[in-house]
Amino acid sequence: MDILGSFSLLLAFLAAVYAIGAGIAGIVTRKTLLTKSARNAGMAVFVLVTLAVACLEYYFFTDNFSMAYVAAHSNRALPFYYKFAALWAGQEGSLLLWTWLLSTYAFFAIFINRNKHPELMPYVGVVLAGVQTFFLTLNNFVASPFAVLAGADPSGVMRVSALSDGHGLNPLLQYPEMVIHPPMLYLGYTGFTVPFAFALGALLGRYPGEKWIHITRRWTMIAWCFQGVGVLLGAHWAYAVLGWGGYWAWDPVENAALLPWITGTAFLHSVMMQEKRGMMKVWNVWLVFTTFMLCILGTMLTRSGIVSSVHAFAQSSIGNWFVGFLALIFIVCFVSYWKNRDYLRSDNQLDSLASRESSFLFNNLILLAACFAVLWGTLFPVLSEAVTGNKISVGPPFFNKVNIPIALFLLLLTGVGPLLAWRKTSFDALKRNFAWPLGGGVLAGVVALVFGFRDIYSLICLILGVFVTLTIFSEFFRGARVIAARDGSNLISAVGELTMRNTRRYGGYVVHFGMVLIFIGIAGVPFNKDIQKEMAIGQTLNIGPYSILCQNFDRITNGNYDSERATLEVFRNGKSQMMLYPERRFFLASQVTETMVAVQSSPLRDLYIVYAGRSPENGQPVIHAYLNPLVKWIWFGGIVVVLGTGLAMLPNRRAALVLRPVNEQAWGDRVQVSGSPIAAIARRGDTSD
């Protein structure tokens, strides 16, 4: 049993290598049998990696402490859900999780398209197998999760040894989000491999048209959504566990996860240019390539400690493997592009600045600028050391200075872009569409000013947020009114009908609305307050409308940790509101101190209280209280974004009704029928978005 895991992982590696070899041979010789065999090998990788993952989980659940990885990240007393999640608590397991999620995507991408696109799929299979081969190389030969503990017995023979109990899971990781955050983020990182494989495959095979974009649209949205959820969950985790009152610090690891999300967002928008107008083909291909490379870079930054090495106190050689892989990807992408660049010629030109195209161009320009700035700031310590010999890091002011204006401009485009027509928008149409949303936004701004709202960025964010929300609602309203008038239904059900007729457009609006909520939440930051005070029993601390009375300090000791705890009573307007219990826990096994934050969260504000430790001067307990407005809007906005993304992935209702006799053909491969009248109907829902 103990070798089953490592054996299946090795077989998976061989299957992936075979899938590359047989796949290329199949493409060159045009032998169907070879192609099919490569495809099956590609799918077998998933089965084998799944078996390896199941083995590792089995070792965790059976407390097999002869496994080095299990011994290092688990112990007998660990709750079962953390035993489950301990799979990705360290380097080797995280990389195995990466490989497994990638192989899952690859399996479904190949399986769903097994009888379609015979000219394209062999290329896709080779690219997918290539990426998997790299990660399986790491899993097998560089960072194997199946290393066993061994020691020499008295006669000098090496024997497998086992610990009586494991070292346990790092207390920082013992938080519910540990169970879902890493898989979510990795589902994002790995998911972009699918559109990458289709794009590169289409380019290599000179596959006609925009088919690869149609095929990968939902895949891209899934990956994008997971990446976004992963980033938000990470922010929430940091907020709830690290006890510094914030959720984002432009830390290299955070930035690494944000980068592919930014380029993925740019890609989701610019593919529409290619679908509707046949423009931006080179740009789109490179956006996918870049997104994928940023995913690999992000994994590298997370796993190797290259950038935060000053903090990490540990180095890993694994970074070199990733650098090599990145270089290889770049060369492959560039050569494929250069040899096939004539295939990517644009069909159309930009007609007007006041057009949907131009709003997409600005959207992409500015997203790429944000991506570049974040990347530059993240890698600056490495770059500056390589160039000047001085290691220089840049802090949050750099990131904020650049990204806040970018974010606000994006918010403006979110409102403006969707209402501009393709090709050219007349001045009258602009006036008709924007007059009252803009008026509403400005009105909200004036009201806020009157109420003493002075932070300029937050004020702009509020105005734009109201403006975008009103444009979105007016879009729903106008469409629903037409349907309601014709069908005689009420407005609410008409909104549902409208959304289902063009899920992509109206789902997109819901996503935009979710982003507005997130922006509003972030705009609360300038109004954050915090106060730190040494507190004795009976003393009070005032923050915002609250006064906090210190009632007691006590110590709790159990086998796992020693804890110092404060008992605080929160008053508002003289009335007792609640009790809060911030703690500091000292974990005995790992000798680590951890802060347990006490948070009282409401839509308007979070009261966030940290037991910060004892004063260096006199040993008095120190309480740090934060008042963070609107933080909840960020998490809620994230949920709305996920719902909107889900909506946008549903098929359109109307097209299915109209096309019942031929709907299978139309849905299976919409482009094949393009040009026929049926296709014109099928695409009618889309052309208006």
């Binding site: 080095a68 380097q91 080797e92 990781l173 955070e254 930009l350 200075k401 260096p616």
Partner: protein, 153 residues
Amino acid sequence: MKVRSKFLVGSGIIVITLVSLAYVGFTQSKTYYHTITELSTLNGVSLHQRMRVSGNVKNGTISHVPGGVDFVLTEQGRDLRVSYVGRDPLPDTFKDGAQALVEGKMMSDNRFEAEQVQAKCASKYEAAPAQTPGTPQPGQTSKGPDPARPPGS
């Protein structure tokens, strides 16, 4: 072509604005990393920039004084006197022999005034055979997020 040039002008304005913003943000927040050995070779402007220095806390040098904590950082036989003037409590891992990273400025009397101190207990890492690189290293910072974040976060 006219539309194209309009677009290019618009893009140019955006890019120039962003680059100047980036430059301002960069000069405000750049922080140099130096070793204690390097500090003695610095002079003039470069000595008074904002920087981060790491080293081990010299045994028996931690003393609580009004307004903060004084201690000595040592690395490869060279010492640096540090005064911590930040208002946050020092991390619990800050003690004799701990590895520490201080951020602040050199003062004219060859004393380093630190606004932030991060520390990790060195012995912890020797005692943990299974620590793998990239694994979150349990560490404490006196301010700001823990730089060693959970995996994938």
